[in-house]
């Protein structure tokens, strides 16, 4: 890759970080953190994006960032208060900025009208022309023209003679540099706040003389502040009650002005600032913080290396800085002049190698690796696991004793293989933050479109899960957040009428729970409107009109294909995608989704997902002539049923009584069409399983072969989706086994129970 292109990629990566920082910062400010560090971080994010964009000639981005930056600069300088209105505009501007960055990266198109609107809105706040190329006051300064031409990395020859022909006048030295600026600048207006203390007069100084001195420097406009002047009776004869504000327009510089106050600096409050700039230029209050900064740096820096940089002997006579002398001086200086007592270098740290090592560890905490390489590694480890399993099986078949060296060695190998697998999986693991951080923007947009007021709270962003899971989580989560705001939350007036805050809260959280990641999306809205859901389900023929359903069953109707509660298809949620699609995509990830709802208090959707898609702990079973794998996480217990415990209920359906309770009994071979006859209860094995939302069922299989870790191979990618089957795997003996989709099986069974057998047909078809 050519170096410029590589830097550009770095720029886009960095932009993503800065955009995230920008959004977080703005949200923090919205939440009341208006300290200067937060505001400055936000400013810096936009400023940096603009700076980098300029280097690559991304003019659209520069133009927008410039307007944004100007507004933020006003906020930073305290000229503009970060009110709610402004923050809303800035958050939307951050979204546009993100779009512009992505458009620049991927070559897409950005809604020009939207940019224009926000540029105008930002401009209105900052009170400036939104064209983006406002006068920054540099006109009269002798700056070179700004160039957006990127640095060229083509080999360039620098002939020393070329410099003489250069049109730009090199600036000679810092001495020549300073007067040039001052001269080019002409007159400056300063605002001087001067409040003498009583001691000033006691030391025989006179305010009038000082003011007269200022008068000699240029034009003055003096305002007297007598607000602290007490009534005559309370006045101290030697007190100081008057203060002056002097507006001075002069050619003289700050030092000259300060010079006038040289003898009285300790006896007055003095503040000199440039007119129009809120930034304080000079103040005599408090000690100079720079010494504190330096002391801090000295204290934390390792001791200077004894090996000083080599002098530069070639520096010619007119060099403005005598670097060689400076270095000699540096070598000569034994002790840092400003070093505080605690900064005396520790002897152990004096070794240059130690310092370098410390520096190295501080900067190389992460490496970037091509994802393909990681995936290749994961594939190989998967093969290793299968291979190890095959080997183990061969050894067992060969009839070697349990205590033989081969068997114990193999046990160790298995242990190591598992560890390698875990470690490799950890490489692919990423915090869910990358998905979560896209949601605040979504929430804003949906809230704006629906006229609702929303606060999105996220928790557990640090939870790690496989990269593929994260990638495929984005769509379902997007849909669920949309739903929560569009369907879950009520309008502000309704909320207030119901005694809630006008602002709805949508909570998005992640947590690790027993080897899975659990993600919850909850809202504090009205909850699922059960009568309405039931009516719709009846209307759409999903359930029989006389069906008697529990609350939980009604809530779960929203996951049925073709179900949508929005009476008119809304702009946000009604995109032809319902909760059934969400459910399917979660199931495709080996996950489960369930809902809990309380009328008037809101709904919570819970996703439970495996941490990795690559391996699974499974129970290998036989059903009919097939070998199948049941995910171990779903199995509660296995049991050998007696014929008397199995009871038929209606056509082809059975229940089994387990310790006094009844659960549906599903004959796996029959349900999946591997055999025509049900397994006789006494001859088979029943696996008590728990599906999503805690629904229990018993799976009737022919026999249990064993418990094994299997490597998951996608069936969809290699064949197509099959009902009741989640994926496939290769067993130790080289045979292919299918992994059961427990939830689909249980759902199929539920369909059998429900009065209208729609589900069953839907599922099979």
């Amino acid at each position: 890759m050519d170096p410029m292109e590589a830097i550009k990629q770095t720029f886009f990566q960095e932009c993503e970080e800065q955009l995230a920082e920008l959004e977080q910062g703005l949200l923090a400010i919205e939440g009341g953190e208006t300290d200067s560090e937060t505001v400055n971080a936000v400013f810096r994010a936009v400023h940096s994006i603009k700076g980098g964009a300029g280097a690559f000639g991304l003019e659209d981005l520069v133009r927008f960032a410039h307007v944004f930056e100007t507004t933020l600069d006003h906020v930073r300088a305290g000229r503009l208060a970060p009110e709610a209105d402004l923050l809303k505009v800035m958050l939307r501007a951050a979204d546009v900025l993100a779009d512009l960055v992505r458009a620049a990266r991927d070559g897409g198109v950005v809604d020009e009208a939207r940019c224009e609107v926000l540029r105008a809105e930002l401009g209105a706040f900052s009170g400036e022309d939104e064209t983006g190329d406002g006068d920054d006051g540099m006109g009269e300064l002798d700056f070179q023209p700004l160039s957006f031409e990127p640095i060229s990395f083509e080999p360039m020859a620098f002939e020393p003679t070329a410099i003489e022909a250069d049109p730009f006048e090199p600036i000679g030295s810092e001495l020549a540099f300073a007067p040039e600026l001052a001269a080019a600048d002409g007159r400056t207006t300063w605002i001087i706040h001067f409040r003498p203390h009583a001691s000033l007069y006691a030391h025989a100084n006179e305010s009038a003389l000082l003011l007269r001195e200022l008068g000699r420097m240029g034009e003055v406009e003096t305002t007297l502040d007598d607000s602290t002047l007490p009534p005559l009776a309370d006045m101290e004869p030697e007190g100081a009650y008057l203060a002056w504000t002097v507006r001075l327009t002069t050619e003289r510089d700050l030092d000259a002005i300060r010079g006038a106050f040289e003898w009285v600096e300790d006896d007055c409050d003095l503040k000199i600032e440039r007119e129009g700039g809120a930034a304080e230029v000079a103040s005599v209050q408090g000690p100079d913080p720079i010494e504190l900064i330096l002391a801090k740096a000295l204290a934390s820096a390792p001791a200077p290396t004894m090996e000083a940089p080599p002098p530069i002997p070639q520096i010619a006579e007119p060099a403005p800085l005598d670097v060689a002398a400076l270095i000699r001086k540096a070598q000569a200086a034994e002790e840092p002049v400003l070093a505080p007592a605690n900064a005396v270098p520790a002897p152990a740290a004096a070794h240059p190698a130690t310092a370098n090592a410390a520096n190295a560890t501080a900067t190389t905490a992460t490496i970037r690796v091509d994802l393909d390489r990681v995936d290749r590694l994961i594939d190989l480890v998967g093969e290793l696991v299968i291979n190890q399993a095959m080997l183990a099986q061969r050894v067992t078949e060969s009839g070697l004793g349990r205590s033989s060296g081969v068997v114990t060695g193999l046990d160790e190998l298995e242990h190591l293989t598992r560890e390698i697998q875990d470690s490799v999986m950890a490489i692919r693991a990423q915090p869910v933050k990358s998905v979560f951080q896209r949601m605040p923007r979504l929430a804003r947009e949906v809230a704006a479109m629906t006229g609702k007021s929303v606060r999105l709270v996220t928790e557990g962003e640090g939870c790690e899960v496989d990269k593929t899971v994260i990638e495929r989580l984005s769509d379902p989560l997007t849909h669920m957040i949309r739903n929560a705001i569009d369907h879950g939350l009520e309008r502000p007036d309704k909320r207030i009428a119901a005694g809630k805050s006008g602002e709805g809260v949508v909570r998005l959280s992640a947590a690790h729970r027993s080897g899975r990641i659990v993600i919850e999306v909850s809202d504090d809205g009205a909850g699922i409107n059960r009568p309405r859901v039931k009516d719709i389900a009846i209307e759409k023929g999903l359930i029989a009109p006389d069906a008697v359903l529990s609350d939980e069953e009604i809530d779960n109707l929203i996951f049925l294909p073709g179900f949508s509660t929005a009476s008119e298809v809304s702009d946000i949620s009604g995109r032809g995608v319902g909760m059934d699609v969400v459910k399917r995509s979660i199931q495709a990830l080996g996950g489960r989704i369930s809902v809990a709802s309380r009328p008037g208090l809101g709904s919570t959707f819970t996703l439970s997902l495996p941490l990795t898609l690559a391996v699974l702990d499974g129970m290998v079973v036989s059903a009919g002539s097939q070998t199948l794998v049941v995910p171990l996480t779903a199995i509660i217990e296995t049991l050998q049923p007696k014929a008397a415990e199995v009871h038929p209920i209606g056509e082809g359906a059975h229940v089994i009584s387990i310790r006094g309770g009844y659960v549906p009994l599903i004959d796996v071979g029959l349900a999946l069409g591997y055999s025509d006859e049900a397994v006789e209860p006494a001859k088979g094995v029943a696996l008590l399983i728990e599906g999503e939302g805690g629904a229990r069922a018993a799976l009737m299989v022919g026999a249990i072969q064993g418990q094994r870790q299997v490597v998951i191979k996608s069936l969809e990618a290699n064949y197509r989706q099959v009902f009741g089957i989640a994926a496939a795997t290769i067993l130790g003996d080289g045979r292919v086994a299918l992994i059961l989709d427990i939830d689909a099986l249980v759902a199929g069974q539920k369909g059998l129970e429900s009065p209208a057998p729609v589900l069953r047909t839907a599922a099979i078809g």
């Binding site: 810096r44 810092e174 540099f177 600048d185 720079i290 200077p304 530069i312 403005p320």
Partner: protein
Amino acid sequence: MPAASSIKVMVADDQLTIRALVRGGLQQLGFKDIDEAPDGEEALRQLIVKPVQLIISDYNMPKLDGLNLLRAVRSHEPIKKTAFIMLTGRADKELVQKAVQYGVNNYLVKPFTITTLKEKIEAVFGPLT
């Protein structure tokens, strides 16, 4: 006429992109020993350990901004006279004047070309070889 390869440089900028651009430019100009720091505090720490001859620093950085880095450098005897070029995101007159007041040697407005970079360095050191 100093050789670029003999001048040690510290590039302080919170943006990796800008550091990479400056480094790329410097390398093209023949500079070899180039250190980087993502903020003023880190730059100062490194400078105390390993003095350089030239500091090219961004103005707006977290922790310690360019102006305060300049002030710190100028008030620490061993590195007091290090050449200091300030990078600014925009041509801010007030900032440049302040920097001049604190003893900056030159300034560089982003985005810059390699020619400008060279000029600014040569304005401080004289023509590079």
